[in-house]
C-alpha cells in the first residue's frame, strides 16, 4: 500500500510538473513583444500567435498606425523594446538600413517547415523576413450605378474617366470618383502607382538620382488631375479611412482603395445591403494603353529584432509561425490575400489577385524611396489645386528630394 501510494503521489507530482512548464506551441519560456500596424488581418495573425502565451512565456503587442514612427527607435534599444516588428516592403527598409533585424535562415530551417518559398524575403542571400499577406490598391465599383449609365467594368483609367463623366451627366452623382489623395504619404503613393502604370522608373538604375521629371511623370500627373476633377473638392484631405467611409455611405461609384478594405466594406456592418451587394472589386486599371496595372504590390511580413536574446528570438519566431499557420488562414480566409498554404481566394481578395496576376510591380525596397515618396506627397498638392504646371511640380519634387537626400547622405 505504502509503495503504491508513493508511486501514485510521485507520478501525479511529475504529471503536474510537466504540465506546469509546458505551454502551448512547445515553448518553455521567453518574452514575446510585437509591434505592428493596426488592421483586421494583423489582429487575426496576432490573436493566433497569442495562444502561445502562458506558462513562462509572456506576450505583449502594440498594434498602432504609428508603427513606422516607433519601429526604428524601439529596435535600436539594447535590449530591443520589441522582439518582432511586422513590416511591409516600404517599412522594412529603415530596419535594413540600420541593421536592426537578424537573418532568419537558421530559425526557418528549424521551425519554418510549413512556409512556401515565395514567403521568404531574401536580401543578398539571407532571409530577412517572412511574408504572410499581399496588398495593393485596386478598383472598387458600384454595379448598379454602372448599369444605370450602361457602362461595363472599367479596365483602364480612360474608361474610368468616361464612366465618371456619364455618371455626372446623368445627374446620379456630382463627384463619383475618389482616390487616397490626402497630402502626404497617401498622395505620394497615388503618384507612384500611376507612374508604374506608365512603366516609369523612379530612380536612375543603381543610383539615388531621382528620374521622375520626364514625359511619363507629366502624363501621370495630368491623369491624376483629370481624375480628381471627378472627386469632391476636399480630395486633399482623403486618406484611406475617409474614402472607405465615403464608399460605405454610398457617396462614390468608383474608387481606388486598398485591398485590405475589401472585407470591411463587404461585411454587413457600416453600410446598407444595397451598397454592399452592389460593390464589386476589380484589378487595378491600366493606363495609356500599357499592360502594367497602375498600382504597386505590397507584402506584409514578420521580422525578428537583432538586439534580443536568442531564446526570445526563437520563442517569438515559433509564436509567429503559429500566428501565420494554415489553421489561422482557414479561420480568417477573407481577411486578406494570404500568401500562406491553405488560402482560398474569395471575393474580397479578387482585386489584389487580379492586379498581381496582371503583372503589377512591387513597391521598391530602396533605402531612399521614402525620401522621394515624402517629397512627392508634399509638393504635388499645389499642382492638383491648379496652382502650377506639371513640369514645375515635378521639378519641385526633385529639388526637395535632392535637398533631403543630400542631408541624409544618399547623394
Amino acid at each position: 500500500m505504502k509503495m503504491l501510494s508513493k508511486i501514485t503521489l510521485t507520478s501525479t507530482f511529475m504529471f503536474l510538473l510537466v504540465h506546469a512548464t509546458y505551454a502551448a506551441c512547445g515553448i518553455t519560456s521567453g518574452s514575446i513583444r510585437i509591434l505592428s500596424n493596426d488592421f483586421p488581418a494583423i489582429h487575426a495573425v496576432l490573436s493566433a500567435a497569442e495562444k502561445c502565451a502562458g506558462g513562462g512565456v509572456t506576450f505583449t503587442k502594440n498594434t498602432t498606425k504609428e508603427h513606422r514612427n516607433l519601429q526604428v527607435a524601439g529596435l535600436t534599444a539594447n535590449p530591443a523594446e520589441f522582439t518582432s516588428a511586422i513590416v511591409a516592403n516600404g517599412s522594412i527598409v529603415p530596419l535594413l538600413n540600420d541593421g536592426l533585424i537578424r537573418p532568419l535562415d537558421d530559425l526557418v530551417a528549424k521551425h519554418g517547415q510549413g512556409l512556401k518559398k515565395h514567403q521568404l524575403i531574401t536580401i543578398n542571400g539571407k532571409i530577412m523576413a517572412v511574408a504572410f499577406m499581399a496588398n495593393a490598391q485596386h478598383l472598387f465599383y458600384r454595379k448598379d450605378i454602372l448599369d444605370q449609365v450602361s457602362v461595363g467594368i472599367p479596365k483602364t483609367y480612360e474608361e474610368i474617366l468616361s464612366a465618371a463623366k456619364a455618371i455626372r451627366a446623368k445627374g446620379i452623382m456630382e463627384y463619383p470618383f475618389a482616390l487616397n489623395t490626402k497630402k502626404g504619404w497617401n498622395l505620394g503613393e497615388e503618384f507612384v502607382n500611376m507612374y508604374m502604370g506608365y512603366d516609369g522608373q523612379l530612380f536612375k538604375p543603381g543610383t539615388a538620382i531621382a528620374s521622375i521629371n520626364n514625359v511619363k511623370g507629366v502624363a501621370a500627373l495630368k491623369m491624376l488631375k483629370s481624375l480628381t476633377e471627378y472627386s469632391n473638392p476636399d480630395f486633399l484631405t482623403f486618406d484611406s479611412n475617409a474614402t472607405a467611409a465615403m464608399w460605405e455611405a454610398g457617396k462614390l461609384a468608383l474608387a481606388i482603395m486598398w485591398g485590405t478594405r475589401g472585407s470591411a466594406i463587404l461585411d454587413d456592418k457600416g453600410s446598407t445591403s444595397n451598397i454592399t451587394s452592389n460593390t464589386g472589386l476589380a484589378g487595378a486599371p491600366t493606363v495609356a494603353g500599357g499592360s502594367t496595372p497602375a498600382t504597386t504590390l505590397w507584402w506584409d511580413g514578420i521580422t525578428i529584432a537583432k538586439n534580443i536574446t536568442d531564446k526570445d528570438a526563437e520563442a517569438t519566431f515559433i509564436a509567429m509561425m503559429n500566428g501565420i499557420s494554415t489553421e489561422m488562414v482557414k479561420a480568417n480566409n477573407n481577411e486578406a490575400v494570404w500568401l500562406i498554404e491553405g488560402f482560398v481566394p474569395g471575393i474580397a481578395a479578387s482585386g489584389v489577385s487580379a492586379s498581381a496576376s496582371a503583372g503589377a510591380t512591387p513597391y521598391p525596397m530602396l533605402p531612399y524611396a521614402g525620401l522621394l515618396h515624402s517629397a512627392l506627397g508634399s509638393e504635388l498638392a499645389e499642382f492638383l489645386q491648379g496652382n502650377e504646371s506639371a513640369q514645375q511640380a515635378l521639378a519641385d519634387v526633385e529639388a526637395a528630394y535632392n535637398a533631403s537626400a543630400k542631408e541624409k547622405g544618399f547623394l
Partner: protein
C-alpha cells in the same frame, strides 16, 4: 538690493533657464551645422513574393562604422541654412535673374517651402494679434459694465475658447466646417453654392485658420484687460466725467494709457505665440493650403521610417528664434524707452 542677495534670488530661475532653454538652443544650433554621413550603398539580389531582382541597399555595417567614428556627421557649415528647404539662396538668385516681373518673382519665391510657411506665419501673426487685443479689450469693457449677477457667467463663457485644448477645438471645428457639417452646409446654403468648401482653397483656409486663432486667443487678452480694468483709479475717471469727457474720450485718455503696460504685455505674448502657430494646421488638416514654420519643423522630425532630417529641423528652429527676435524689436524698444523715461 545687494548683488549677492540678487544673485541668490534669481539663481533657481537662472539655472533652470540655462539648463532647459540655453543648452537645448545651443545643441540645436550645433546640430544645424551638420548633415548625415554618406550612406554606403551596394547592389544585392532581393527576393520577395513577387520575384527576384537586383536592388540597391544600404551596407548597414559600413555606414554604422562611419557613424561611430564621427557621431555628429559631416560639418556642413551654414549650407543647411541656404539650401532649398530653408533660405534657398541659390534658387532666389536664379529666380531674380529669370523672373519676368515682380509678380513672377513673387510666385517663384512663394514656391519655396520655407517662404510659403513664412508668408502664412507672418500673415497669421499680423492679423490675429491686433484683432485679439481690440476684441479682448472690447469684451473686457463690455463685461465690466454688466450687472454683477451677469458678470460671472459671462466671464466663464468668454474664457471657454481658451480652455478647450487647441487640438480638440480645431478638430471639432474641422468637422463642423466640412461640407456635411453644420457650419459647412449652412454656408453653402447662404451662398447658394454647392461647391463651396472651406478646405479647398488656400485663401479660405487661411481665413478659417485666422478666425480660429482669434477665437482661441481672445479670452487671454480679455481676462488680462478685465483684471486691469478693476484697478483703474475711479477718481481720475470721475474727474474726466466732470470735465465733460464723452464715453469714448474717457476710454481714450484715461483707461487706455492706464492699461498701456498690460497692452504691451499682451502684444508681446501674442506675437511670440502666434509666430509659433502649429496646432490649428494639424487639427484642420490644412497642410495642403497653409504651412507654418513650426509645422515644417514637425514635418522634418516626423519623417517616417527614421528619415528624420534633424539638421534641417534645427536650422528652421534657429530661423524661427531669429524671426521672433525681429518681431519683438519694436515692442522691446517701446519698453526700453518707457524704462529709461521712468528712471529719469
Amino acid at each position: 538690493m545687494p548683488h549677492r542677495t540678487f544673485i541668490f534670488f534669481i539663481l533657481p530661475s537662472l539655472l533652470s533657464m540655462i539648463l532647459l532653454i540655453a543648452v537645448p538652443i545651443f545643441s540645436a544650433m550645433t546640430q544645424s551645422l551638420f548633415i548625415a554621413h554618406k550612406q554606403v550603398i551596394r547592389v544585392s539580389e532581393t527576393c520577395d513574393p513577387f520575384g527576384c531582382k537586383k536592388e540597391t541597399s544600404v551596407d548597414a555595417e559600413a555606414t554604422a562604422n562611419l557613424r561611430e567614428k564621427e557621431p555628429l556627421g559631416i560639418f556642413n557649415g551654414f549650407d543647411t541654412y541656404t539650401n532649398r528647404n530653408h533660405l534657398a539662396a541659390a534658387e532666389i538668385k536664379t529666380s531674380w535673374n529669370v523672373a519676368t516681373g515682380w509678380k513672377d518673382l513673387f510666385s517663384r519665391i512663394m514656391n519655396l517651402p520655407f517662404y510659403k510657411a513664412l508668408a502664412f506665419t507672418i500673415t497669421y501673426t499680423i492679423v490675429v494679434t491686433p484683432f485679439v487685443i481690440v476684441l479682448g479689450f472690447l469684451i473686457a469693457l463690455g463685461t465690466n459694465s454688466l450687472a454683477s449677477w451677469l458678470k460671472g457667467p459671462t466671464i466663464f463663457f468668454s474664457l471657454l475658447p481658451m480652455i478647450v485644448t487647441p487640438l480638440i477645438g480645431s478638430l471639432i471645428l474641422f468637422w463642423m466646417i466640412d461640407a456635411d457639417g453644420i457650419i459647412g452646409s449652412t454656408l453653402q446654403r447662404i451662398f447658394k453654392d454647392n461647391d463651396l468648401s472651406l478646405k479647398a482653397s488656400p485663401a479660405l483656409t487661411w481665413i478659417m485658420l485666422i478666425v480660429y486663432g482669434i477665437w482661441h486667443s481672445t479670452p487671454f487678452a480679455f481676462i488680462v484687460f478685465y483684471a486691469g480694468l478693476q484697478t483703474v483709479p475711479q477718481e481720475t475717471l470721475e474727474a474726466s466725467m466732470l470735465d465733460g469727457a464723452s464715453l469714448w474720450q474717457q476710454k481714450r485718455y484715461v483707461v487706455i494709457p492706464y492699461l498701456m503696460p498690460l497692452i504691451i504685455f499682451v502684444t508681446l505674448i501674442q506675437l511670440m505665440d502666434n509666430f509659433r502657430v502649429f496646432e490649428p494646421i494639424v487639427g484642420f488638416n490644412a497642410s495642403a493650403n497653409a504651412t507654418s514654420l513650426s509645422w515644417i519643423i514637425f514635418n522634418d522630425l516626423r519623417g517616417e521610417d527614421a528619415l528624420q532630417l534633424f539638421g534641417s529641423a534645427a536650422a528652421t528652429s534657429m530661423l524661427t528664434i531669429i524671426g521672433v527676435g525681429i518681431l519683438l524689436i519694436p515692442v522691446l524698444i517701446m519698453i526700453w524707452k518707457e524704462f529709461n523715461s521712468k528712471t529719469v
